[in-house]
């Protein structure tokens, strides 16, 4: 800890926020709720086929940041996003960008498992049906089965595809939500604390799944569990009061963070 102290600069990001093969790149992003600024001048690249973990204390803006990546914050009238966020070079806040199309390309999994109170099959089929991805019933069946298999849920639910999804266990419900998301073949999956409501075994299964999904998708995950961030991600970004304080290789962040705020957070110290 040579030069770190609490007065260390916080308005520039430590570590390496930029990568060569960026899927999503964020430049000078500010987010406001009415007059209150929630995210300050964030610069970050999310590389193709990587899992990036966003960690930080509650209210640090990491969830807000995540939700801006597929414009879920559009539903909040007082929320305003400034700066440049591009997906494969296209600005997602451009007037030409359809938020519905964007959300089909950038899927989202939420903290609380939220399957629709319909059958397992209907849950997974909903997205493809919405976007007309299947031409006939056979194709739809195929999408449903493949998605459930990818989410590692098929064997557990194959006998009750048509029973109500809310009867599944919490971990199964969350995997169903992941299956539902990957049924529309998004390019990026955003996960907002996907395992926070699950027991350790269900959590381990979800983490295993995230690692598996990395081959085909780019994943950004917000988590409060440092161990989880350390286990599933390749890169980690630490948020503090709406700024990214430090970004880096996960192994480096968790053994030798550069910024004292990061250090304090991941070691459980007073900030």
């Amino acid at each position: 800890m040579t030069t770190t102290n609490i007065e260390q600069k916080v308005n520039e990001t430590w570590g390496k926020p930029f990568v060569d093969n960026a899927k999503i790149s964020i430049r000078n992003m500010d987010v406001f709720y009415a007059d209150k600024q929630a995210v300050f001048d964030v610069n970050l690249d999310i590389a193709k086929h990587e899992v990036i973990a966003l960690i930080g204390p509650s209210g640090c803006g990491k969830s807000t940041f995540l939700r801006c990546l597929n414009r879920m914050n559009d539903t909040i009238p007082i929320c305003r996003v400034a700066g440049d966020i591009s997906l494969d070079g296209e600005n997602i806040y451009d007037t030409n960008m359809d938020p519905v199309l964007l959300r089909a390309r950038v899927g989202m999994v939420f903290q609380k498992p939220n399957p629709f109170p319909k059958s397992v099959y209907e849950n997974v089929a909903y997205g493809p049906r919405l976007h007309g991805l299947a031409l006939n019933r056979a194709e739809l069946d195929d999408i449903v089965v493949t998605s459930l298999k990818k989410a590692g849920l098929y064997n557990e639910v194959k006998d009750r595809l048509h029973s109500i999804a809310t009867g599944l266990s919490g971990g199964q419900q969350q995997r169903l939500c992941i299956a539902r998301t990957i049924a529309i073949s998004p390019e990026v999956i955003l996960m907002d604390e996907p395992a926070s409501a699950l027991d350790p075994i269900a959590t381990a299964i979800i983490e295993e799944l995230i690692d598996e999904l990395r081959k085909n998708y780019t994943i950004a995950i917000v988590t409060h569990s440092m161990q989880q961030a350390a286990r599933v991600s390749q890169r980690t970004a630490y948020f503090h009061l709406g700024r990214i304080i430090e970004v880096g290789e996960t192994s480096q962040i968790f053994t030798n963070p550069q910024h004292e705020l990061t250090e304090n957070y991941i070691t459980g110290r007073f900030g």
């Binding site: 030069t3 102290n5 053994t255 030798n256 963070p257 304090n264 459980g268």
Partner: protein
């Protein structure tokens, strides 16, 4: 330079205490080891066979401490999953106590050699260089423990550098003894014993150097083992 690892600022007070306790125990163990080395050296140089016996018999205490600290570190891993500086601290502690235990073993050897050598008439001139080496090693051990106690990278680096000097002194003693043995084959046995003592002291220097390297790892998060001094300095200075 901020040497404060701020062990007392965890949200969990119990965690603060655990880390502080482990560190404290390491320092206590270090003190014990230092005393063993000093006693062993004294026994050797003063041909004090009874003190040698005491030193040889006291090693179990150090071994017991190593086991105890090891266990405590395992508990910390299991219960706290330390990260960042905490993780580096616990790793450093585990490694440091291994080296301290080895130093204890070397001190035990010194004490053990002191017993047979006290009976034999050995020309005191042999001891002059040995004493010189011994003093150097004692200082080095002390400095490395000091660096650990204060998380002092500068002191650690100076100490690492001083190992080179000890190695040279050991070389000198070895050369001197070889000459002696060639000139005076009847003294070969005595010379061998002195050589072993010198070897033990040189090993203590190596272990002290290891401890200093752990201090660098602990504070800077950089692994500086098994590299030349030049590259070490370069690595330290590139943040």
């Amino acid at each position: 330079m901020n040497n404060d690892l701020s062990l007392d600022s965890h949200i969990s007070r119990r965690f603060n205490e655990e880390l502080e306790e482990v560190r404290h125990k390491v320092l206590v163990m270090g003190g014990l080891v230092e005393k063993q080395v000093a006693d062993g050296l004294t026994a050797l140089l003063n041909s004090d066979s009874s003190l040698g016996e005491v030193v040889a018999g006291a090693d179990f205490e150090i071994n017991a401490m190593e086991v105890a600290i090891d266990e405590q570190c395992t508990h910390i891993f299991a219960r706290r999953q330390p990260a960042a500086s905490d993780l580096r601290l616990v790793i450093s502690v585990i490694k440091t106590i291994t080296d301290l235990e080895r130093i204890g073993d070397e001190a035990e050897k010194l004490g053990r050699y002191a017993m047979p050598m006290a009976d034999k008439k050995i020309t005191p001139t042999y001891f002059v260089t040995l004493r010189h080496l011994g003093e150097h090693v004692k200082v080095m051990l002390h400095n490395s423990l000091d660096a650990f106690a204060h998380n002092d990278v500068d002191e650690a680096l100076t100490t690492i550098a001083s190992d080179e000097q000890i190695n040279q002194e050991f070389e000198a003693i070895s050369r001197q003894l070889i000459t002696q043995m060639m000139e005076n084959p009847r003294d070969i046995k005595k010379a061998m014993q002195i050589s072993w003592c010198a070897r033990a002291l040189e090993r203590i220097g190596d272990h002290s150097k290891n401890i200093c390297e752990y201090v660098v790892y602990l504070v800077k998060g950089k692994d500086v083992r098994h590299i030349s001094l030049d590259r070490l300095n370069k690595r330290i200075n590139t943040d």
